[in-house]
């Protein structure tokens, strides 16, 4: 009995080690498959962007191309007006981010710190706005933008991004709640005005929220297709995304050129993602998990 007991734990340990090993292996296999699935369409497009049309027809899609053949990229840059798209997207991002950061933080601060007539109603309306489906409301917003005379100008998307991005109010409110009210009070005693409290104390303390929202907003605007497509049909006002749409309809079937354009348009947001990943994760999680 004693001898048997002495052997048993060892055997068990051995068995356990083996199952741990197998389960670790299974995990890497699962993650490996996911990695392949994620990269497959990207890789095929990347390879095609370096190939000539006959090569695309003849080669297996996953056969690596000659990576020095930049011909397709040259065509996209010279004929695709990609740089106009970059410029407009960048302009839209910078203006919208600044406007949204100020409006969002000011709204959240005021509604969180002061109770006044209608404050609850206004807060409720901001939350109701979040439920309204995005795409279909444009049916009613479109005539309004027309009648305001901002249709086909860069103002149209700027106004819409400022007015309809209510998620930022939600995220700012979470952060404002965490800032202790005693900070406001002691500043008040030191003779700080209400405006001073916001601009000198609260707004700087909201910097983590602002940086998170800046990155998320930038990615959202660069990736947005619908608003620029609907409100800025003019060729001069193409964003990166609508430039790609244009390019695609003008050169249907020219996969080598379209692939190069796809890769170019993909790159900015992917680079931002790789640099600011932590901020993006934090913002996505904060914006999503709410009661």
């Amino acid at each position: 009995m004693i001898a048997e007991n002495a052997v048993m734990p060892n055997k068990k340990l051995f068995k356990k080690k083996k199952t741990v090993y197998i389960s670790q292996l299974a995990k890497y296999i699962i993650l490996g498959i996911i990695t392949v699935i994620v990269f497959l369409p990207i890789l095929i497009t990347l390879f095609a962007s370096f190939k000539t049309p006959p090569k695309i027809a003849a080669d297996f899609p996953l056969k690596a191309p000659n990576f020095l053949n930049f011909e397709n990229y040259k065509v996209v840059f010279t004929k695709g007006k990609i740089l106009t798209g970059f410029k407009n997207s960048a302009l839209l991002v910078v203006i919208s981010v600044v406007i949204n950061a100020f409006l969002g933080s000011m709204t959240s601060y005021t509604l969180n710190r002061f109770k006044f007539k209608f404050s609850k109603v206004i807060m409720a309306l901001f939350y109701v706005g979040m439920v309204i489906p995005v795409y279909v409301t444009e049916i009613a917003r479109f005539p309004l933008i027309h009648s305001l005379g901002v249709y086909n100008t860069i103002l149209a998307p700027i106004i819409i991004y400022a007015a309809t991005d209510l998620m930022q109010i939600y995220i700012y409110t979470q952060f404002v709640e965490k800032i202790s009210k005693s900070i406001d009070e002691s500043a008040m005693i030191d003779g700080c005005t209400y405006f001073g409290i916001f601009f000198k104390i609260i707004f700087p303390l909201l910097l983590p929220a602002t940086s998170t929202l800046t990155i998320i907003k930038a990615v959202d605007i660069m990736n947005d297709m619908y608003i620029p497509y609907l409100y800025m049909p003019s060729g001069k006002l193409r964003t990166m995304t609508t430039t790609l749409m244009d390019f695609s309809s003008a050169r249907a079937g020219a996969w080598e050129l379209l692939s190069a354009a796809i890769i170019i348009v993909m790159l900015p947001t992917v680079i931002i993602y790789l640099i600011f990943q932590k901020l993006i994760f934090a913002g996505i999680v904060a914006g999503a998990v709410k009661e």
Binding site: K27, P41, F116, P133, F142, M225, T269, I284, E291
Partner: protein, 295 residues
């Protein structure tokens, strides 16, 4: 003290005046307009809107089989995404466990969600294309000629082909949300359960599932809203075709408005969508509350 109060009121007014005007003009007013327009036969241009009562709704419910076909396509998105939720949770658990290169895999998993949707839609158009498209080429190389399809022009398949794009784009987002919830479970609770002799299945159902119920609720809500509003993938890849085989409710609505200038009809579809989302959200909330009270 009086000046202080005055100063406070000025701040409230000056900080809120622009956001509230924007809210009323571009969110509240369009929503009200949507309701009103849905009762008219407005074409989107003319100055007069002819009031026709509930005629648009009658036509939509009884004379428009394509609307129903589109809505069925939305349901397909919903159901398939729903079936993937357990898998997404499993992947999140793998990412939460002790593995090497965790950060790399996390980055990869979330990558599709960040990539430009238009670029992705076109990349998949190429992937599915019958002319030099990679999918058919890969199937041929694997000796699976029988599986080769016209992925985007076969009526019976096209909607599923598009659902795959949606899965590719959104699953990683769900995994990251699950991961965040899992990481918020205190380690000592898990360790205590292991010491007390709980097996993995018990840990899964008694500790993990209850802790991530909020995320599951959000995902169902997000999935329902997302599935009802699918627009850009069919719009960019197939324009809803062939026929209406891959059309969705939102795509059909947008086409009705901007392609066929029936703003009245499109508005009634918009209102229907809004009501549908509200009712389903309410229903879902009720179910979850019931579930929580019973345990």
């Amino acid at each position: 003290m009086k000046t202080l109060k005055f100063q406070k009121n000025i701040l409230i007014f000056s900080f809120l005046v622009i956001p509230v005007i924007l809210l009323f003009m571009f969110v509240v007013y369009p929503a009200v307009e949507l309701f009103y327009n849905s009762l008219t036969s407005w074409n989107g241009i003319s100055d007069t809107k002819k009031f026709i009562g509930l005629e648009n709704y009658r036509r939509m419910f009884f004379d428009s089989p394509d609307v129903w076909r589109s809505l069925r396509n939305n349901a397909t998105y919903f159901i398939i995404h729903l079936l993937f939720i357990p898998l997404e949770l499993a992947i999140a658990m793998v990412l939460d466990s002790k593995i090497r290169a965790k950060d790399f895999f996390k980055t990869v998993v979330f990558l599709p969600y960040v990539i430009n949707g238009v670029a992705i839609a076109y990349a998949f158009s190429f992937f599915y294309s019958p002319y030099n498209g990679a999918l058919n080429e890969i199937l041929r190389a694997l000796g699976m000629e029988w599986a080769i399809q016209n992925w985007l022009s076969n009526e019976n398949i096209v909607n599923y082909s598009l659902v795959v794009i949606s899965l590719w784009k959104f699953c990683g987002f769900h995994v990251i949300l699950f991961l965040a919830a899992l990481q918020s479970i205190p380690r000592d609770i898990l360790e205590a359960a292991v010491i007390d002799g709980a097996n993995p299945i018990q840990i899964y159902f008694r500790i993990i599932i209850p802790s991530i119920v909020i995320v599951i609720e959000f995902l169902l809500f997000h999935n329902m809203r997302g599935a009802l509003q699918v627009f850009d993938i069919p719009f960019l890849v197939t324009q809803g075709g062939p026929g209406y085989a891959s059309s969705t409710f939102t795509l059909y609505t947008i086409d009705t408005a901007f392609k066929y200038d029936s703003f009245g009809m499109a508005s009634s579809m918009g209102v229907t969508l809004l009501v549908l989302i509200l009712v389903l959200s309410w229903f879902q909330k009720k179910v979850f509350r019931l579930g929580r009270n019973s345990t």
